[in-house]
Amino acid sequence: MDGFPVLELKGISKSFHGVMANSGVDFKLKKGEIHALLGENGAGKSTLMNMICGLLQPDRGEIFIQGNRRKIQNPKIAIQLGVGMIHQHFMIVPGFTSLENIILGSEPVTRMAIDFRKARKQIAALSDQYGFSIDPDAVTEDLPVGIQQRVEIFKALYRKVGILILDEPTAVLTPQETEDLFRVMRRLARKSVSIIFITHKLREVMQIADSITVMQRGAIKGVLSPGETDEQSLARMMIGREINMISNDRSAGAGRTVFEASGLSVNSSRGFEAVSDVSFCVREGEIVGIAGIQGNGQMELSEAIAGLREIASGNIILSGKVMPALHPRKMMENGLAHIPEDRLKYGLVLPFSIAENQILCTYYRNPFARFMWRNRKAMLNNSRELMDRFDIRAGGPEESVKTLSGGNQQKVIISREFSRNSIFLLANQPTRGLDVGSIEYVHRQMLTLRDKGAGILLISSELDEILSLADSILVIYRGRLISMAGKEGADRASLGLMMTRGLEREK
């Protein structure tokens, strides 16, 4: 690694309504390096990056690009300075083709119309130069996330990016797609693009980073190189305490069946069959894991179970009773707890306070309601107790959940769902986007619930999560379940293969 920093931050501070998100951050990025940025949820990583790409303005501090001091007032200036960012939530117009998405904002034009021919040529040239390609005419909303991400990378390359920021790019990718992404990143780095890579997965950091910066509570905790550290000490540095890998070492007691799906078929919103003829059961004190790559019917399956989606055929049986479809309250009252996949959309009412979110399922019952009136005092007491018990870090019960960090938002959901006396937990991607400390926390809570005798259905695309928690493992592939013999028969390689190819290749 030679040379001077392409990007240097000096004393950057930023606060939101009195909450310090960044305080006095110094940061250096060398030319052509892959620099990993680590930190727990809410450490201020995204905020810092948004200031480099012009979406936010620092309160204090200076930004130097190629040694020159710059004020980045809006994204346009950032683009001109060669800064490109791929956001945690993709910035892709869903109905547009890849081509339209790539050129948006920097379109080549003839007199009046967009010069699509020229754009196509430029994209083909980029493909040649960097050695990976996309289909310019595919509509982006139909593409798998890995390819959508590639479109995002093309967007940056098209604008001659020199500094590429990737904010948690691997959170939604399959292991295979992650490998592909890393290959692309290495190639870009070789072509002297400097990359900032944000992730919560320490294994990836060790695998690809040239240097590592750890953030904690808005400040830089330290800068390291992967040679002089390991995953354990990185985790300790991030969280400030020791992390123990949770694993499920207790063998499942063969209890009563709490939940059963028989011959369940569910249609997707587009009308085709997303889940076909699925049958399985979950017993008391058992964790059943469903592994699979996102988009193979997990969303439809869990929505059907939660009573949020119509059932095409088959039955859902909760503690021996056949449940009607589309009746979420009935499911809850019969003992369902639900951690939805998209916590911002289905798990929380963002503008509501923590206390209000914690009684979303019980607000109509004693003690939170008397006749027609809500009981505010009971709500706040309940919230204080839960915040204490589940270690939710926030200003108070009346703080809005919108401003909480991802980990604390998940804790609010868990406190709500686990404090009712549930006998069956449906957890869909319960740890997506969470830092190692929060993951450990969520896993421990799930095991506690299991020990109390509840059955758990864990749907996840994280192999490690499934392997360490589940008593029995199923793989979902194109809406069908493939059952694995038991925990013993499963290892990373064979599971990964089944997730990507189903059974066809196995035999």
Binding site: F16, P75, I79, I92, P94, E100, L104, F272
Partner: protein, 335 residues
């Protein structure tokens, strides 16, 4: 694997549209064969009747494609009709009248943009304010007994207007009607092929994505809403300076809202909206003709219902099927 046949979403709607148009064309040809004079009269009246609807729909389309729900079209039209007529009477120049109408529409648009884009007010409320404001202002300041000073003249294209059926309908018409057709095609081309069009559509679908690519969402929305205001202003000018010739209280008579239905029916595309508006125009002129001829001995209250009935039916069928711009009505948050 997947279900056997996957009808493209909206394919049935398209089939319905094509079927509708074929049957309408067949009816026109038949009636021309029976009575050419009446048919020509009905058709050119349909074109005239549809003009304010088309213009209103273009106004709505411009702002909705960039993500701002605009229900203030009616008010924009009304203000333009009022101001255009006043200026026409005061200056004696039709040209000045039309231009003032455009300016009044653009000003109403600016007001709407300020409320909904800058102040981030609820867009429905902002639109309602424009509508109420227009009714109030034009009603209050309307000077009674102002006499008309003529209206825009009909212009015949020399040779082309001699063609049977098409000639008198398409090539013997007044300037704003003609201009409207030009606007439709120009807007369609720009929306789908120009740089501005791409940016507008991106802003309507995903404003944050547009913002990260260096597009100023606020400027673009202001621009679109104000151009839309001009176009609504043209509709107002058409009503008071070309069609009726005087200003009357509440003379837009719900056209701004029918224009919204037209826009939805036309799937937020200019040509689609144009086709839809023609259908509405046709229903209106057929309705007048029915009253005029007394062919059917229906009370006029019933025939008068026709356009509104069609609005309700069309909306009931299409509003769920046609997909609006994804982030319609959501104001773009930027810290």
């Amino acid at each position: 694997m997947m279900a056997v046949s996957r009808l493209r979403p909206g394919a049935r709607g398209e089939m319905l549209c094509v079927f509708l148009w074929i049957s309408v064309t067949a009816c026109i040809v038949c009636s021309y064969w029976i009575s050419p004079v009446v048919t020509v009269a009905v058709l050119s009246s349909a074109l005239r009747q549809s003009t304010p609807l088309v213009l209103g729909a273009m106004c709505g389309l411009l702002s909705e494609r960039s993500g701002v729900m605009n229900i203030g079209i009616e008010g924009q039209m009304l203000m333009a009709a009022f101001w255009g007529f006043l200026m026409h009477v005061w200056t004696g120049s039709l040209m000045m009248g039309v231009i003032s109408g455009l300016a009044a529409g653009a000003f109403a648009g600016f007001l709407f943009a300020w409320m909904s884009v800058s102040m981030k007010m609820d867009q429905i409320i902002a639109g309602t304010i424009i509508n109420i404001l227009a009714v109030g202002l034009t009603g209050f300041f309307y000077p009674t007994g102002m006499s008309s000073a003529g209206k825009l003249k009909i212009y015949s294209v020399p040779l082309l207007s001699e063609i049977p059926l098409a000639g008198p309908v398409l090539f013997r018409m007044s300037p704003i009607v003609f201009l409207t057709i030009c606007i439709v095609f120009l807007l369609h081309y720009c929306l789908f092929y120009s740089r501005w069009g791409l940016r507008t559509r991106a802003t309507g679908e995903h404003p944050k994505a547009a913002a990260t690519m260096g597009i100023s969402v606020v400027k673009l929305r202001y621009g679109n809403i104000m151009i839309g205001g001009c176009i609504a202003g043209l509709a107002g000018a058409f009503l008071s300076l070309e069609s009726v010739g005087v200003f009357e209280r509440g003379m837009t008579n719900g056209r701004g809202f029918i224009a919204l239905a037209v826009m939805i029916f036309g799937k937020w595309t200019p040509i689609g909206a144009w086709g839809a508006a023609l259908l509405f125009g046709l229903s209106m002129s057929v309705q007048t003709q029915l009253q005029f001829d007394r062919v059917l001995s229906l009370p006029h209250q019933f025939t008068g219902m026709l356009p509104y009935l069609i609005t309700i039916i069309v909306l009931a069928i299409f509003i769920r099927r046609n997909r609006p711009p994804a982030s319609l009505g959501v104001s773009c948050e930027r810290e």
